[in-house]
């Protein structure tokens, strides 16, 4: 009897832990990297796109945009960079290779609108699964 109570207690704790982890996981994976529906890029390419290493996808020029509403999360979770380092990396890239840093949009809605309309566009949003674009990865 005592053993079965212990077993039940453990099962309940395990279930609660699993629920808590699932909830925190869901919270961590709220953001999404999105791209224009006509573009195909892999999640492994996202860092290259946002550091100027990958500029073309086939014959399409990739146009990354930043989202000031979600940039801190995106940089820390996806690029694993601080904002200052990100700026400096783009200054060096721009100075050496003549590339321009991604334009900065101010909200999810603005990013979604731009990505929908612009061939080759890649962006990221803080939450949700926007319609009319392709979700590349969640973060």
């Amino acid at each position: 009897m005592t053993t079965s109570f212990r077993m039940s207690g453990r099962l309940i704790r395990a279930a609660l832990t699993a629920l808590a982890l699932a909830a925190s996981g869901a919270a961590l994976a709220d953001g999404a990297v999105i791209c224009n529906s006509g573009l195909t890029i892999a999640s492994g390419d996202v860092k290259d796109v946002y550091t100027g290493e990958k500029q073309m996808a086939g014959s399409t020029r990739i146009v990354p945009v930043d989202n000031s509403a979600a940039q801190a999360d995106f940089l820390s979770k996806v690029l694993k960079m601080e904002a200052g380092k990100y700026q400096t990396a783009w200054t060096k890239k721009s100075f050496r290779d003549g590339l321009s840093a991604p334009a900065v949009k101010s909200s999810d809605a603005e990013v979604i609108e731009f990505v929908k309309k612009t061939p080759g566009a890649v962006g990221y949003v803080s939450s949700g699964t926007p319609a009319g674009v392709t979700v590349v990865e969640r973060f």
């Binding site: 290493e53 020029r61 321009s100 101010s106 603005e110 731009f114």
Partner: protein, 458 residues
Amino acid sequence: MSLDPAGRLHRRLISVTIAALFAAAPLARADDAQRIDALEKKLEQTLRQVQQLSNELRELRSQKAAPAAAAVPAAPAAGAAQAEKIEHLQQQVDQLTAGLATRGNEDQGLPIHGFADVGWQANTNQQHLALAGSNNTGTRGFQIASLDFYLNPQLGDRVKTLAELIFEVNRDQGVVGTDLERLQMGYTVNNDLTVWLGRFHTPYGYWNTAFHHGAQIQTSIYRPQFLDFEDSGGILPAHTVGLWANGGTRVGPGKVTYDLYVGNGPKISGATATGANATASLDPNLRGNDTHSMESGANLGYEFRGALDGLKLGGHFLRRANVHDDLANFNRTDLNVLGAYGVYITDDWEVMTEFYNFHNVDKSGTTGSHASWAYYGQIGRPIGKFTPYARWERTRLDQADNYFAYLETGQSYMRSLAGLRYDLTPRVALKIELGHFNATDRQTYSSNEARTQFAIRF
């Protein structure tokens, strides 16, 4: 089971009626007239009661029905108003979003980027002050160094341009001069290849293309002296006018990078004498090549990823046949440079080293071939906003080689320095540096140096 008020009234009405009927039965056995009168009175009373109860029942029913009837039409009305308001707000948000997105696509002009730096310096040897080079502007005290602008308009999906214009204080006259540092137009063939035409930073080694005039993005105040610009007394062509192909491709866990270029090679201008009296500098031949020999070179590197992220190793060569000076009986020298470099740049460390080996050949005289070399090593350790750093530079340039003998800064030297950089913001840096310089062959002297620099980027 419970009844509502209307139900209870209905039961009372039925009970009163039945009771009245039962009450009328015993009276029939009394006096007929009296009984009839009494019955009529009771009946009238009962009928009044029935009428009263019926009225009450009707009233209650109407009261119960009224709120429901009122509520039913009111709900859709309020919902419709709310839906209309939401739709209106949605329209406003859509219009705002569309407007912002459209504005983003409009031509908003061309952003100008750039660098600027000012500072102060001192050293202990007058001889050292006379030495050329941006490491030594020939004066003590405060100075403005350079204001550098660059533009990089993207002209379509594949065509891009890079233009860089610099204003800097001329070392000899102390006046502000202008130089079109770069004007290059590129076509991106694919991720692995971009072809440029124009004037570009010659892609030898690492430093020359990574930092160039960007004082704010380099940790130290100045470049290593032997990598200085041509007009500041450099011994290598820091710029080339020609054709440049560069790119990189994933190989294994990292990336192979490459540069291939051809262009007008440099000549030596202002040659009058050799040794301590040398005054010449490299002329990059902006207007066109002065001989049939082109400068050519390549740079091959490998950028590591994963555990070794930040590490890049590479090698390069540069060749230009018949570099000549402007003496009446000009000297001609084949310039051959072979080099290697390694950099390790992470959030915690900055380690850079480059080695250059010269194997120049005298083509007009009989001095044969000459071996020279130069290298530097620099280490920095970012700690928050501070980066302490140190560098060691050394050259051994053969003074019998006409290429070095006529150049004002063609002498061999050693320099060690230590500095501290403080990043006020990601775009603003303050640097303080102490160094020790030794001239080791053409002249022999030493000098202590102190410098500060305030460098920005925008």
